[in-house]
Amino acid sequence: MISMREAYEKIGANYDDACARLMGEEMLARFALKFLDDESMDKLEAAMAAGDAKEAFMAAHTLKGVSQNLGFDNLYEPAVVVTEALRGADAVDGARAGMHALQQQYAATMSALREAAE
């Protein structure tokens, strides 16, 4: 079990800023843990696999917005890369390069959040 602050620091996310924006530590913790149930990464991976660029853009865009709101800067940055690679694209290939970094950060974020949730 680690604190939410420790989880944020572990993955390189901005805890203090998110706290100030989102009505304090308690509320932030609630929202951050809710991210464990967020489906946008699953949707993104499924759309990438299916080659559906439009659907993939939508999912990447949502993931970008959510991670920005929660102050997951580490996740937000690769999400921007993938989103922009998919914006207006007909195929998903251009985004594959960015997916690796995104998946890595996503895994790190999820694991830190799980630790905080225990």
Binding site: L22, K34, S40
Partner: protein, 626 residues
């Protein structure tokens, strides 16, 4: 001197002083510090009066003589508390007597607001402000009173304030204090009131203000927002500060009452409703959490669902928070749809998006968004923007309705004046009571048709109805024509006819003279043209100036056709009524002089509608003979 702490009296001297003041004060007590601090009840009236102990303590603590006014069993008393030392021990000399009428009247005058007859601010500052008590304290603030003042004038504003004060009085108890706190703000202090009764009375106050009738402005209704708190030994001023905070919450919607005692559920129904549209559940949850204390929240996860919500909830919605990038219908499409349905005028939309390129932001504004909030959400910014926007729109809605109320009232009033004048003229001219009305309706019909047919004549709705209104004054010059000529049953001699013709120039001169202060006013301009030239004819054979063709202003041309038609179809002292079809034919045949061919086309086109539009005899209200 006996009246300060420095004077140290012996027991005998103290007894003498009590006896001395007892000549003017029926109740006198000499109280020791122990008595003041130890007595569990009020020094004068037991537990019915909580105020004198506080004053006694203040005097003991070293203040100068304190004077209080109190009410007991319906009688007002003046109580004075004077510090005194007896045998070296601090005492307070308490003296009480009923307030005589003169003293009461003088005091009333100083503490009464001239306009509203309730207590004034001075009373608040001197008597209420620092009083500690158990009471309900409410701030009552009239909505948009400044706008009312600006549009209806100060006099109406003063009348309204008086009426509102009376209304508020009716909602509170007779023993409660009511103060005019600022221009359009009142403070009510209700001692020892149970919380449910407090909330109920404040709603009564709000209802009473809403149903207040302002003398001379019966159609206008004012509203007031009320914020109320109960204080428990705090000062009234502390209560007022808290009430002001609640008031700012109430201000989101006109006529709202908010008290601290009300449960969240009770307040729920008064909360503005906000619709959150975002495809991410996470984002909706965050916004919901930020706003749920102040607003009722509805959520939609796509554009189509959002539009359905807008349709379903209509006016109940106060604001929409709208994401841009969504599957299916995106935020721009929703915004565009709302604009097309002109919902956007009454329903503010704040865009929420992580798209922050100038192009996207500008496009949102162009489509009618009120504001734009970037991600990441900051609760402080989101809350402030939402509340600002809602308040702005609420205010705008109230102002719009105030203005249209006022406009309609004005139109009604000028309409009434013109009808009265026209009625008087008809009486004098021996015309039936419908001549003026008929000419007005005919004029409007013909003008409507004319702008349709002509490329060169452009008159909008408002100009057309102004011309129609001005037509009521076409024969105003007949006022100064001798009765014997005006109502002569037989044919006029050529000399008499020359006199009759002057009604055009006389009317025009009258309007010119009387309307000097309205130079440039469209109604006046048209009325002048019509009065002077409604007997001119297209071929130049009319009077008084023999104008030809389009030198005759179009307003006068139209009224001349209308005037001729109505004269033909009406009974006059010198002739019977001619049937509709025959009258139209006579005009077309040039039996009444020549007219603009375009106008004759219009007359033909509207001839069927003339019969159904003009007053039928049964509708004519007989005017009394003078």
């Amino acid at each position: 001197m006996l009246n300060n702490h420095e004077a140290n009296l012996t027991d005998e001297e103290a007894a003498a002083e009590v006896a001395r003041v007892a000549k003017t004060y029926p109740v006198v007590r000499l109280l020791s510090a122990d008595q003041i601090k130890g007595d569990p009840n009020c020094l004068l009236a037991g537990d019915r009066c909580p105020c004198l102990r506080q004053s006694g303590l203040e005097v003991l603590a070293g203040s100068d003589e304190v004077s209080e006014r109190l009410l007991n069993d319906g009688v007002e008393y003046r109580a004075r508390l004077r510090p005194l030392k007896v045998e070296g021990e601090p005492h307070v000399l308490l003296m009480v007597r009923p307030i005589d009428e003169q003293e009461a009247a003088e005091e009333d005058l100083v503490y009464t607001d001239v306009l509203t007859s309730v207590r004034n601010r001075r009373y608040y500052e001197e008597k209420l402000r620092s009083a500690r008590m158990q009471a309900g304290v409410a701030m009552i603030d009239l909505d948009d009173f400044r706008a009312f003042n600006d549009t209806y004038g100060r006099h109406a504003g003063d009348l309204a304030l008086g009426a509102v004060a009376t209304a508020i009085r009716s909602g509170v108890r007779s023993t409660d204090e009511l103060v005019r706190f600022g221009c359009d703000k009142f403070v009510a202090v209700m001692p020892n009131i149970p919380s449910d009764d407090f909330a109920r009375r404040l709603r009564q106050v709000s209802d009473a203000v809403h149903s207040t009738i302002i003398p001379g402005h019966e159609r206008v209704s004012l509203t007031a927002c009320v914020g109320g708190v109960r204080i428990n030994g705090e000062t009234v001023d502390e209560g007022v500060s808290q009430a002001v905070q609640l008031l700012s919450r109430a201000k989101a919607k006109a006529g709202t009452v908010v008290t601290d005692a009300e449960s969240i559920e009770a307040f729920q129904s008064e909360k503005p409703t906000v619709l959150i549209v975002d495809d991410s559940e996470m984002n909706r949850a965050i916004l919901n959490e930020m706003l749920k204390d102040e607003y009722c929240i509805l959520e939609a996860d796509n554009g189509r669902a959002a539009l359905d919500m807008v349709d379903r909830y209509g006016d109940e919605l106060s604001l929409v928070l709208l994401d841009i990038v969504m599957p299916g219908m995106n935020g721009f499409e929703v915004l565009g749809d709302l604009s097309r349905r002109s919902n956007i005028d009454n329903l503010p939309v704040i865009m929420i998006s992580s798209e922050d390129s100038d192009e996207v932001v500008l496009r949102a504004y162009e489509l009618g968004a009120s504001d734009y909030v970037n991600r990441p959400f900051d609760s402080r910014v989101v809350r402030r923007r939402v509340s600002n926007t809602i308040r702005l729109y609420a205010k705008q809605r109230r102002l719009t309705s105030l203005l249209s109320q006022q406009y309609n009232e004005r139109v009604k009033n000028s309409r009434m004046l013109i009808d009265i004048m026209a009625g008087v003229m008809e009486l004098r001219n021996g015309e039936s009571g419908r001549h003026v009305t008929n000419i007005e309706k005919l004029t409007e019909l013909l003008l409507g048709c004319l702008v349709h047919r002509s490329d060169s004549i452009s008159l909008d709705n408002e100009e057309r109805s102004t011309i129609a209104l001005a037509s009521a004054l076409h024969d105003i010059g007949k006022m100064s024509i001798d009765d014997a000529i005006l109502n002569k049953p037989g044919r006029l001699t050529s000399e008499e006819f020359e006199i009759m013709k002057t009604h055009t120039t006389i009317g025009a001169d009258m309007l010119h003279e009387l309307g000097r202060h309205h130079a440039g006013n469209a109604l006046m301009e048209y009325a002048y043209q019509i009065a002077r030239w409604h007997h001119e004819r297209w071929d130049g054979k009319g009077y008084p100036d023999g104008l030809k063709g389009d030198d005759i202003p179009i307003a006068a041309q139209v009224v001349s056709v209308a005037d001729v038609y109505d004269a033909l179809t009406s009974v006059r002292v010198y002739k019977d009524a001619i049937p509709h079809e025959e009258a139209i034919q006579m005009i077309l045949d040039g039996k009444c002089g020549t007219f603009n061919p375009l106008l004759l086309d219009c007359l033909l086109e509207v001839q069927d509608r003339i019969a159904e539009t003009l007053a039928r005899p049964a509708e004519v209200v007989a005017l009394p003979t003078i």
